[in-house]
């Protein structure tokens, strides 16, 4: 690998040939703002928010600008601030951005930049046309194109990560808008509901149905775990609200899934809140299950297994472990069957 040394805001930094100015800046904790860029998709260079000054003269979009030995990058000066404000005002005037009604409020990347650059209310653009709202057609995703800034992340998420090619842009100029397939509603399109487009959306244009009525974004707590379903082992950031109800699942970029999830990993966890969850031990008496205390149930299990072991020998008992349990639990189950019962009758659903 070729190492390249250059300066950003008078700070000496290093990167590898082929990296862009933005990538190296972010790695070094230098906070260049951006909207259309996302590390998981190919680079667009469209929004121009990330522009920086190179060698005191040129203004370039840092997300697509390759690093060069000895280059001198300035990430913000008066003119850059002025341009960024102008772009943000244009984007703002071309949409309907009312955070009060928006599911993304508090985690919206566009909102954060509006605040960072102290943009005040702007007049709607004369060419602005109301765009589509589709809150009903899909049980998984919500779409309000009035909040869309045409960054194209969703199009690329669907083309490069999920590879279903549902999203694309139609029309030109101020009429440019998103279409699903040949301009269908989401629920009627070929969307498989992986939700990656909504995960990458920097505004509230594409959001999850599951977040509605479950609390404001700043009230949510995040914890990381591993998906319960197939063997890919996707790492997921789970968000829960104050009442410990799951609100959304976001693909973690350090797991084997590299940020991606499928429909099960995105929307398949509300079973944990099901009314049908078992809450107390049950003992069958006269053919009917009755709730019992833990001690009573555990004593009964131990007594019956001991009796059967003494009467028929250890090989008359078998244990079924589970591919849905942890390594620790599987280890303990086989240790129990082998060392406490004294048989190798232990198996699980590996073949099923």
């Amino acid at each position: 690998m070729d190492t390249i040394t250059f300066t950003i805001d008078n700070k000496k930094v290093q990167g590898e040939r082929g990296q862009t100015v933005l990538e190296v800046a972010l790695k070094n904790g230098i906070n260049i703002p951006y909207l259309c860029y996302h590390p998981r998709i190919s680079k667009t260079g469209a929004c121009r928010i990330c522009l920086v000054r190179i060698n005191g003269t040129m203004l370039k979009a840092s997300c697509v600008e390759p690093i060069v030995e000895g280059m001198n990058v300035v990430t913000e000066d008066e003119e850059i601030i002025k341009i960024r404000k102008f772009i943000l005002e244009l984007l703002l005037s071309d949409g309907d951005h009312n955070c009060l009604y928006c599911e993304a409020n508090g985690e919206c990347e566009f909102q954060a930049l509006i605040q960072r650059y102290n943009i005040q209310e702007v007049k709607p653009s004369p060419t602005r046309i109301p765009k589509k709202i589709d809150y009903e057609s899909s049980n998984a995703l919500r779409r309000n194109e009035n909040r869309c800034i045409l960054c194209g992340r969703c199009v690329k998420a669907c083309r490069e990560i999920q590879v279903s090619n549902v999203w694309s842009f139609a029309e030109r100029g101020s009429e440019t808008h998103l279409v699903a397939d040949d301009d269908k509603r989401i629920g009627e399109s070929s969307c498989v509901k992986c939700g990656t487009c909504a995960q990458l959306c920097p505004t509230g244009a594409l959001t999850f149905q599951t977040v509605i009525g479950r609390g404001a974004n700043w009230e949510l707590k995040r914890e990381t775990s591993i998906c319960i379903y197939c063997g890919v082992g996707c790492k997921i950031d789970f968000y829960k609200n104050k009442d410990n109800i799951l609100v959304k699942a976001i693909g973690n970029y350090t797991g084997p899934n590299n940020g991606h999830l499928c429909v099960k990993g995105r929307f398949g966890f509300d079973f944990v809140h099901s009314e049908k969850r078992l809450k107390k031990p049950l003992i069958k008496k006269n053919g009917v299950f009755e709730e019992a205390e833990w001690d009573e149930a555990l004593d009964l299990v131990a007594k019956k297994l001991t009796e059967i072991k003494e009467k028929y020998g250890p090989d008359s008992i078998a244990g079924l472990s589970s591919a849905k349990c942890t390594n620790e639990e599987n280890y303990l189950m086989q240790k129990f069957i082998r060392s406490i019962i004294g048989t190798n009758n232990i198996d699980h659903c590996a073949r099923l």
């Binding site: 775990s225 999830l261 398949g268 078992l278 107390k280 639990e329 086989q334 198996d347 073949r351």
Partner: protein, 530 residues
């Protein structure tokens, strides 16, 4: 998997056989799609169903269920007769080539096409030539290779092919089984199998018995391998198994020949089930113990690429539900054990001591880095792909394998082939996904895929409820008329208890590994006359 998920971009092409990847391992399916559609990589798909990946394939073979070995042998026959296999690799890293080549002689493209139901034998030749040009090609398979009475031989055939192509032990290559449960790899690694302790150390070895007796402070370990699941049920009916303790399993739904499983459970003197729901299986229990879901506990799981990852506690427990390890420990203590594990990590530290491949893995590493077994010591980085430079056994062994037909072939009474599997929106026995709002709304009920030709012959309309029978049972189920499925073949997903595929499936098993033949049995479909 011999190789790693993150190597997918390094593959020049893919052979997908017996895996509906985009529905059953969708995240890996999308990574493969990205390489094929966006980066021009080559793709060969072998599957009885016209799965999504078949649409992007350079060659797609819609084979008769149960004929994997024949087509794999056919590819290898071409590689050898054309002299385009990796000769240097075969000569320096493998053994047994001559014996295998002799068996492969008769698997000409014409012979194979006839067995598999392929129209054009020359496609086999062309696909084999394409494979030889892909350096490296990765082979991915799933239960569509294994769930046959010839499952073990199917797996060996995939290894034969990849060794012949020189694709084992190289990044971006490999023999890559996609495992169907989030911790099926870990459950196997932990010795939740009747013949091995952790890390596949055989129970029949006196040395291992002594090792584990010392580690566990006991003197009673048995060197006699135990029963597999299906053998447990057979022996329950025969009166040899009197009690079963089941942790988080639902065999009434997941095991073949449901009537037989229920008969076995009813014949037990004592049956304990530990689960998060009162499953179809738990209904037959004498005692049911409430367990915490995966979001309510901590612990490690091992994915299909041998990567060990840490699960964190996301939610508080529901009611009085307890961690599975806590429950097992409480039962064990009441039966004389002196165990005193306070948290899951205490158990993991013990696992490290008795499991060579996990010895170097810690909670900290599992949480913050990519760590794949084997990882024999703390300073070991883990193993991205297996068999680098040499095979675990030294030389890679070619195994001569003959195609053998499935246990149950079609006949006059049961003229169609039934195959089973999963679909995108549901998982296994449906215990979790059918209680998830979005997934349940997406697909609410079971169905049977029928080819339009067959639908026409039987006068069946799309959406009509029909009857499906095998020698083991009969169900009613809604017809989905689609050319995704081959003529004379039907497919049923097994997630739905009210139209339960495993009432029908055959419990014939592979003699070596005891896997049941879910993927093929003979069936009959009938219109239900009003």
């Amino acid at each position: 998997m011999t190789n790693s998920i993150r190597e997918i971009p390094q593959s020049a092409g893919f052979l997908i056989i017996g895996s509906n990847t985009t529905e059953n391992h969708p995240v890996i399916g999308s990574m493969i799609k990205n390489e094929v559609i966006n980066n021009g990589k080559k793709l060969i798909v072998v599957d009885p169903r016209r799965i999504e990946l078949s649409r992007y394939a350079d060659y797609y073979f819609q084979i008769k269920p149960g004929t994997n070995i024949a087509i794999l042998n056919g590819f290898m026959h071409v590689l050898i007769t054309e002299g385009i296999y990796d000769k240097e690799y075969v000569n320096t890293r493998c053994e047994g080539f001559e014996q295998m080549a002799k068996v492969l002689e008769k698997y000409t493209p014409e012979y194979v096409a006839d067995i598999c139901g392929i129209d054009n034998p020359q496609d086999i030749v062309a696909a084999a030539k394409l494979m030889a040009s892909l350096k490296p090609m990765a082979l991915y398979y799933s239960m569509g290779i294994t769930q046959f009475v010839s499952g073990v031989n199917g797996v060996k055939s995939t290894a034969n092919l990849q060794m012949l192509l020189g694709n084992v032990g190289v990044p971006g290559g490999g023999v890559n089984p996609l495992r169907g449960q989030n911790n099926v790899q870990g459950a196997c690694d932990m010795g939740a199998l009747p013949n091995v302790y952790t890390a596949y150390q055989p129970v029949s070895s006196e040395e291992n018995k002594a090792k584990f007796e010392a580690a566990w402070g006991v003197t009673n370990l048995s060197t006699k391998p135990g029963f597999t699941i299906l053998e447990m049920f057979n022996n329950a009916i025969a009166g040899n198994i009197k009690a079963i303790y089941a942790m988080g399993e639902n065999p009434v739904m997941s095991d073949p020949n449901q009537h037989h499983v229920i008969e076995a459970l009813k014949s037990l003197e004592f049956f304990v089930v530990q689960d998060i729901f009162l499953t179809e299986t738990a209904q037959f229990a004498h005692v049911v113990l409430p367990a915490r879901s995966f979001l309510e506990k901590e612990g490690t799981v091992t994915n299909t690429e041998r990567r060990v990852q840490l699960m964190h506690k996301v939610l508080p427990p529901v009611g009085e539900a307890k961690e599975d390890w806590w429950i097992v420990q409480e039962v064990a203590r009441r039966m004389g054990a002196t165990w005193d594990y306070k948290k899951a990590e205490d158990i993991f530290e013990e696992i490290r001591k008795v499991t060579p491949s996990y010895a170097g893995i810690t909670y900290e590493k599992a949480d913050n880095s990519i760590i794949q077994w084997p990882c024999p010591s703390y300073d070991h980085p883990g193993t991205q792909f297996l068999h680098k430079d040499k095979f675990s056994r030294g030389l890679g062994l070619f195994t001569p394998i003959e195609y053998t037909p499935p246990a149950e072939e079609t006949d006059f009474e049961y003229p169609m082939i039934l195959t089973t599997g999963r679909i995108l929106d549901h998982f296994h026995t449906g215990t979790m996904t059918r209680k998830s709002k979005v997934l349940d709304e997406n697909v609410h009920e079971g169905f049977i895929e029928i080819n339009p030709n067959d639908a026409h012959n039987y006068n069946i309309e799309n959406g009509e409820v029909i009857s499906v029978s095998t020698r083991r049972g009969s169900i009613r189920i809604k017809a989905m008329v689609t050319d995704k499925i081959k003529p004379n073949t039907v497919f049923i997903p097994f997630h739905f208890f009210e139209a339960c595929a495993n009432v029908l499936t055959n419990d014939a098993i592979d003699p070596a590994c005891k896997i049941p033949e879910y993927k093929v049995c003979a069936c009959r479909i009938e219109k239900i006359e009003a």
